[in-house]
Structure formats: C-alpha cells, structure tokens
C-alpha cells in the first residue's frame, strides 16, 4: 500500500507545481506568451525572502507577506518596461527577451548570493518537516498539505476574481479581444500589467514553498519553469485554471510514482508524461488541443 502513499505524496507535490503553474497559465491565457523567466522570478522571490530573513528572524510566511508587494511591483514593471514592447513585435520577440531576462536573473542571483544551495526550511521550523501519520504506510507532510491548501485558495480566489469582479471581467474581455476591449474603454496595458504582477506574485508563493520543502540555487529557475509548463500542458494549454491545478497534481503523481520505480527516474517520468500528453490527439487532460502559439 505504499502505492497509496505515493499517490498522496504526489498530490501534495502537485500543489507546489500548481502554484508555479498558475501565473504561467494566467499570462498565457491573457497574452499568449510564455514568460521564460517565470521560474527565475519564483526563485527571486525565494531569495528575497531569504535575504529578509537574514535580518529579521521570523517565519518565511511572514517574510513573504513583506516581500509580496515587491513581487507585485516587479511583475508590473516587467510588463510595462519589457513585455509590452515585446508583445507588439510579434511572437518571437517575447520568447527571446524573456529568455535573455532569465539568463540575466540567474547570473545576477549567482553574483549576489553565490551558487550555494540554500533553503528556507530551517527558518520555517517544524512545519517544514512535520507530518501526520495516518497509517503505518501513509503520512501526510504538513508543508505539502499547506501548499496544496494555499494553491486551492489561490486558484479559487483567482477564479472568483475573474468571474465576479470588474477588473476580472476586463481581463477576460481583453484576453479574448484586446482591440475591442480598448474600444469599450478598457486600458489593455493596465490589464496586462496587473495580470503579470499577479502572475509573478503567485510564482513567488510557489518559489517560497519549494524553498521550504527543499533547497534552491540561482539556477533552479529553469527547472521550476519546466515543471510549471508541464503542469499547464498536461492540464491543457489554454483551458481553465482548475485544469492547470489538475495538471500540476498529475505531474506530481507521475514524478512520485516514477521515483518509486527508480530513485533516479522522477523528473524523467514527469518529462515522459508531458511528452505523452503532447503527443496525444487530445493534447490535454481537460481540453482539446489548440495548436496555436
């Protein structure tokens, strides 16, 4: 029955991936771009919390609350300064600029913090290591449950925001037809900037959780990006937010079960599932594939 434990662990892991994936899905759904620096921004969030905690002895969660406005600002500025211009130049340019940005962030972090492994687990205290023993073979890690819970709350909140609020409605309208959105008085640039701010902030949440669960380095970003993207694609690129959450969970489970088969296999297992979904005619768990960029 360790099998059941694996699935449960995988679901917990999926919560982390879903947090990483959420912002990516939001930006893709709205602007049709994949921010290749997304993972690095998540890592940046973790480093900022780390930096804060060096001066202020508190838990990473409180630290994050303080870092949150900074991440929102970073996302907003990123959109207005870099991505807005890229968007106007076609589909190739955003990929190239965000790739360049990714390289810059990684290496600046290396320069600022050294390439050593770091972790926020120690600062988090008990919660990083605690778990509830349900049966002799099934235990639920506290941090995993918390991450999953936070993911569900964030996804739910974002969904409510999009369907029930004015700014959320504007975002949905702009996603479908930015030209007409402008014609009915929506400032599309502001909408995009808000979305990027939210996306980056949520990515940072994921980054902090992962930093608590394990260690990170300046070069962890691309790995996070791959997981985030795999989660989005497995759920179905361009489909609902909840599909992305499901995709994250499937990825987590695939990795955990792969890890059971062979401790060297977890990440590869995730890649295989991703490629299999990509290859399948449906191209996604809950959605028909859209073969557009």
């Amino acid at each position: 029955m360790t099998w059941v434990n694996d699935v449960v662990q995988g679901i917990m892991l999926g919560g982390f991936y879903a947090l990483l994936a959420c912002g990516l899905a939001l930006m893709f759904g709205l602007m049709r771009i994949i921010n290749l620096a997304h993972g690095d921004l998540a890592v940046l969030g973790a480093y900022l919390v780390y930096l804060l905690l060096e001066h202020w002895n508190t838990s990473p969660f409180l630290g994050f609350v303080a870092v949150l406005p900074v991440m929102l600002l970073i996302g907003y500025v990123l959109q207005r300064v870099l991505l807005e211009r890229s968007l106007r130049s076609g589909l190739l340019v955003p990929l190239l600029t965000t790739f360049g940005l990714s390289i810059v962030i990684q290496n600046l972090l290396d320069q600022g913090f050294s390439p050593d492994d770091r972790s926020l687990g120690a600062s988090a205290g008990n919660i990083a290591t605690a778990s509830w023993q349900i049966t002799s073979q099934l235990s639920i890690p506290a941090i995993g449950a918390l991450a999953l819970g936070v993911a569900i709350v964030i996804f739910g909140g974002l969904q409510l925001f999009l369907s029930k609020t004015g700014p959320g409605r504007q975002m949905r309208a702009t996603a479908q037809d930015p030209d007409t959105a402008e014609l009915v008085g929506i400032n599309s640039r502001a909408v995009y900037a808000r979305a990027t701010a939210i996306a980056v902030a949520i990515a940072a949440v994921g980054g902090v959780f992962l930093a608590i669960r394990s260690s990170f380095t300046p070069y962890s970003g691309p790995t996070y990006l791959i997981f985030a993207f795999e989660a989005v694609v497995i759920g179905g690129l361009g489909s609902s937010l909840w599909a992305t959450l499901a995709g994250g969970i499937v990825l987590g489970v695939a990795q955990t079960i792969g890890g059971q088969i062979n401790p060297e296999y977890p990440i590869l297992a995730g890649h295989i599932v991703f490629l299999a979904v990509l290859a399948s005619p449906r191209g996604g768990l809950l959605n028909l594939r859209r073969a557009t960029a």
Binding site: G100, L101, I226, E230, V233, L237, E264, L278, R289, A293
Partner: protein, 344 residues
C-alpha cells in the same frame, strides 16, 4: 482617354546581381583560404575550430528560427546527442572521424520522429517542447554507465593521433561540416522551399491554402538544423575532449545561439556568421568574467530583441538595400519606348 501602351520587351528575372556575384566569389575564396589555417600555430587552429563550431551552431539555429519561424530552445539536444553518439561509436571500434560523421547523420535521423511530435506546435509550446526533449535526453544519457553516466566521458580514441595532426584533422573536418551545412542551407533557400518559407513565416494558413506544403517545409529545416547541431556537438567533443551530460546538453548553448543570431541578424544568411564572429571576440574578451559574461549576453539579447531586432546585418541590409547572397529575385524590366500621345 487612354494613352496606348507601346510594345514593351518582356521583363527578365535574374537571381544574381553584380554585388552577390562578387560577394559569393569572395566567400568561396575565403573558404579556400581557411583550408590553409593549419599552417598557423596550434593555438590558432584550436581557436578557429571553436569559431567554426560557433558559426555552425548559429547558422543552424537561424535556419530554424529565422527562416522557419520556429524558436527552439532545445537544439542542445542534438549537440549532446552528436557528441554522445560519437563516443558510443568509438567505443564500438569505429574510427573517430568516421564516427563523427555517422553521429551527425544519426542526429538527423533521430530528429525525424521527434519532428512528428514537436512540429504540431508553434511558438512557446514548440520552444518548451524542444527544451523538455533536451532535458529528457540528458537524463537518459546520464543513466548509461558505458557512456560515462553523470560524471562524463572523453574521446580517448583520438589519442592514437599525434596532437599536431589530430588538431589539423579536427579543424578540416569542422571546416568541411560548416561549409557543407552552409551550402545545404543555401541550396535549400534558393530552391522552391526558400520562397515558400517566406510565405509560411508571413501567414501559415494562407500559405497552405495556395498549396505550400507547410509541415514538409518546416520538417526539412528541422532535420537540417538538428543534423547541423549534431555535427557541432561531435566537433565540440573532438575539440574539447571531455564532456558530461549537464554541460553538453546545457541550455547555455541556446543562450549562445540566440545571442549570435539576434546580434548578427535573424533571418539573414550572413547575420549568424557575423554574430558568431562577434561572440568569438566577446568570449575572448569577457569569457573569464564568469557570471557577468552571461549577464552581458542575456542583456544584449534583450536589447537587441527590443531595439534592433534585425541585428547588425539585418539593419545594414535594411538601411542600404545590400544583398550579398544571391537568394532573392530581381526583376529587370527592359527599357520601354515612350508612348505616343494621342490628342484628346
């Protein structure tokens, strides 16, 4: 009242201009001259091999991105595959240089089934798909102990050659590969595929509706780019002698390729070559500056993408109308006699 047209002579369509004829001749001459590089000292030969590898990488990445509109961030998959295939072949008693050639061809073959998977996508999905393939390959290779697993391996079979001649042979093979792939791209672009590629880049659906075989065109470029990258990988192994999965499959190669092509000129034939030369000098100047070197590369990529998206050569072409390679079409209208005017 309409004025009558005079009888005009038919227009002629030519592919060569004086400029392109001159330039191509010069280029051919340069290639011949390059064959004599091994007469110089050993350090230069190795450097030049490195430069040629950069040229090959840049040109092939541009073939996919600039001419095919497909941004790949996973060409390192074939760099690694080319290198490791060479190792595998040498471990099975194949002559090292022959192994490099076979490994290159193998990369091309391996890319065909991958193309069926990846070419259903465009844009970001394609990009990350290529990257995941590279990552998966890296992990898979690192499981194989015979290939050195995670710690790496070297091409010790090259030891049977003395250092001097060895470097010469490596250089000549690299030069031959570079010329081969540049030539193949040139031929491809001058063929019918070349014009259809422009159509595909402008509007895929419209191109398909006039009979352009979109996917076949993309697949051709995909396989060519993969084969070329495989060659670059095999030659990198030969030139550096030691490789390990994390470095030979590293996405840093993509960073280099993007830099070279963006700075040189995306979508131009000469641009990537210029970009490779620029990177070569940048590497020599800043290569030891560690992270700042990469920060600079990344920053330059951003600036060029936003401000000078056509790169150095592309902007030059745009501003001066210069066309060095005979890749376009010129319509030469014969002189028309002035029409006689009829009174109103």
């Amino acid at each position: 009242m309409k004025t009558p047209r005079s009888a005009a002579e038919p227009s002629a369509i030519s592919r060569w201009t004086r400029t392109s004829a001159g330039f191509t001749t010069g280029f051919a001459g340069l290639i011949v001259a390059l064959a004599f590089v091994p007469a110089l000292n050993a350090g230069v030969v190795q450097d030049m091999t490195g430069l040629l590898i950069l040229v090959l990488m840049a040109v092939m990445w541009n073939a996919l991105a600039g001419y095919g509109g497909l941004i790949s961030i996973g060409q390192q998959a074939y760099i690694g595959l080319g290198a490791y295939a060479t190792v595998w072949l040498c471990n099975h008693a194949v002559n090292p240089f022959l192994a490099m050639v076979i490994a290159t061809a193998f990369c091309g073959a391996a890319s065909i089934p991958l193309s069926f998977l990846l070419l259903r996508f465009r844009g970001a999905q394609f990009a990350i798909g290529t990257w995941v393939v590279a990552e998966a390959l890296a992990i898979w290779v690192s499981f194989d102990n015979a290939l050195g697993a995670g710690t790496g391996t070297s091409l010790f079979q090259l030891d049977r050659y003395a250092p001097g001649p060895r470097e010469h042979y490596i250089y000549w093979l690299t030069l031959a590969m570079a010329v081969l792939f540049l030539g193949a791209l040139f031929v491809l672009l001058r063929s019918r595929l070349g014009s259809s590629l422009q159509a595909i880049r402008d509007d895929e659906d419209a191109a398909a509706s006039v009979g352009v075989r979109v996917v076949a065109g993309k697949r051709t470029l995909f396989v060519l780019a993969a084969t070329g990258a495989g060659a670059a990988g095999a030659m990198t192994l030969a030139n550096t002698l030691f490789i390990e999965p994390t470095s030979i499959f590293s996405v840093n190669y993509t960073a280099l390729m993007i830099f070279m092509v963006l700075v040189g000129g995306l979508g131009t034939f000469e641009g990537p070559i210029i970009g490779a030369i620029i990177l070569y000098f940048v590497q020599h100047q800043f290569g030891n500056d560690g992270v700042w070197y990469f920060v600079g590369l990344g920053g330059a990529a951003i600036l060029f993408a936003l401000l000078l998206p056509r790169g150095v050569w592309g902007t030059l072409e745009e501003r001066t109308g210069l066309r060095c390679m005979p890749l376009g079409y010129q319509v030469r209208r014969a002189a028309v006699a002035p029409p006689a005017r009829e009174p109103d």
